[in-house]
């Protein structure tokens, strides 16, 4: 075996080792699935797993951000009254937009068009 090929093999070994130790992105993709993050935020994990996640959360900013995002989304979806109001407003906007399109008028009010 030549010295060059030995060098390459060593380099590949080091690279593989690095990927095993610091594969933050791959790691996040594989382990931090929606299902697992959900189990974490809803305390559905066994204590040992939860502890491990707490540690990883401190180590990986990306994971911490992801957990915060999941929690925020849930909080936002719990605002049922606001979601109901949004639905009602969307319906009004949609109905009036299609009315305006049919009447070929963008700036006037429905009452003006029918008058």
């Amino acid at each position: 075996m030549t010295r060059d090929s030995k060098n390459w093999k060593t380099r590949i070994k080091i690279l593989k080792l690095c990927l095993t130790i610091f594969p933050e992105k791959n790691f996040i993709m594989k382990k931090y699935t929606t299902e697992n993050i959900d189990r974490y935020i809803h305390n559905e994990m066994p204590p040992s797993e939860k502890q491990q996640w707490d540690k990883e959360r401190k180590a990986y900013k990306k994971l911490d951000k992801e957990i915060i995002l999941y929690k925020e989304i849930e909080e936002a979806l719990r605002e049922k009254d606001i979601i109901r109001l949004r639905k009602a407003l969307l319906k009004i906007i949609k109905t009036n937009s299609s009315y305006e399109e049919n009447n070929n008028c963008h700036l006037c009010e429905p009452s003006q068009k029918t008058a």
Binding site: E72, I73, E74, I83, R86, L89, I92, S97, H106, C108
Partner: protein, 193 residues
């Protein structure tokens, strides 16, 4: 067009009264739309800003922070103009408020209102994408948030078993989160923090 007093409008918003909401749309939307079209916006932007304006006012009313002396229309215009300015020059909002808002609008805007807008910006993005999900997904996620048991969720939604209900929940959540992450506004908000 029937006229509603400030109080009736405020109560109507709180109670999600369709007649009042339609009245607000008929009376004020065209002005807001015109302002946004004149200032580099589109009809879609106007729809968005109108909706956000009402939501901000709803939050204010709910927290007893709506200035009662102010006319509803003036306040709505102020909020919508502020929202649009903010969108146009995100990072320089506060500067713009001082520099470019007419005096009568400045009177209606205080730091409290700016904070309210900024704080709930992310929530409005999440809620908008939630409403873009299919009805099945919306209902499934809502039932989970209401802590209905998986067994009951499967029953209510007509899913074949509990496992499927769980999978559906994760799938819906994943879709929601991916859509949010792909939104340019979400990326902007991330960079702001």
């Amino acid at each position: 067009m029937k006229h509603y007093s400030n109080n009736k409008i405020i109560n109507g918003i709180l109670q999600n009264d369709n007649l009042v909401l339609q009245y607000i749309y008929n009376k004020y939307y065209s002005g807001i739309n015109l302002h946004i079209l004149k200032n580099n916006g589109t009809k879609e932007d106007a729809d968005d800003i109108f909706q956000e304006g009402i939501i901000i006012i709803y939050r204010k009313i709910k927290n007893n922070q709506f200035p009662l002396k102010c006319s509803f229309g003036t306040y709505l215009y102020s909020v919508c103009k502020l929202l649009w300015l903010k969108q146009l020059r995100k990072e320089k909002t506060k500067f713009l408020i001082k520099e470019r808002l007419p005096i009568y609008l400045k009177r209606n805007i205080n730091q409290n209102l700016i904070d309210a807008i900024e704080k709930k910006e992310r929530y409005s993005l999440y809620q908008k994408y939630f409403l873009k999900l299919g009805k099945d997904c919306q209902k499934t996620l809502q039932l989970f948030l209401d802590e209905v048991s998986i067994k009951n969720i499967a029953k209510i939604m007509g899913y074949k078993n509990e496992n499927y209900a769980k999978k559906k929940k994760y799938k819906c959540k994943e879709n929601l989160i991916n859509n949010i992450k792909n939104d340019t506004r979400f990326k902007e908000l991330e960079n702001e923090n």
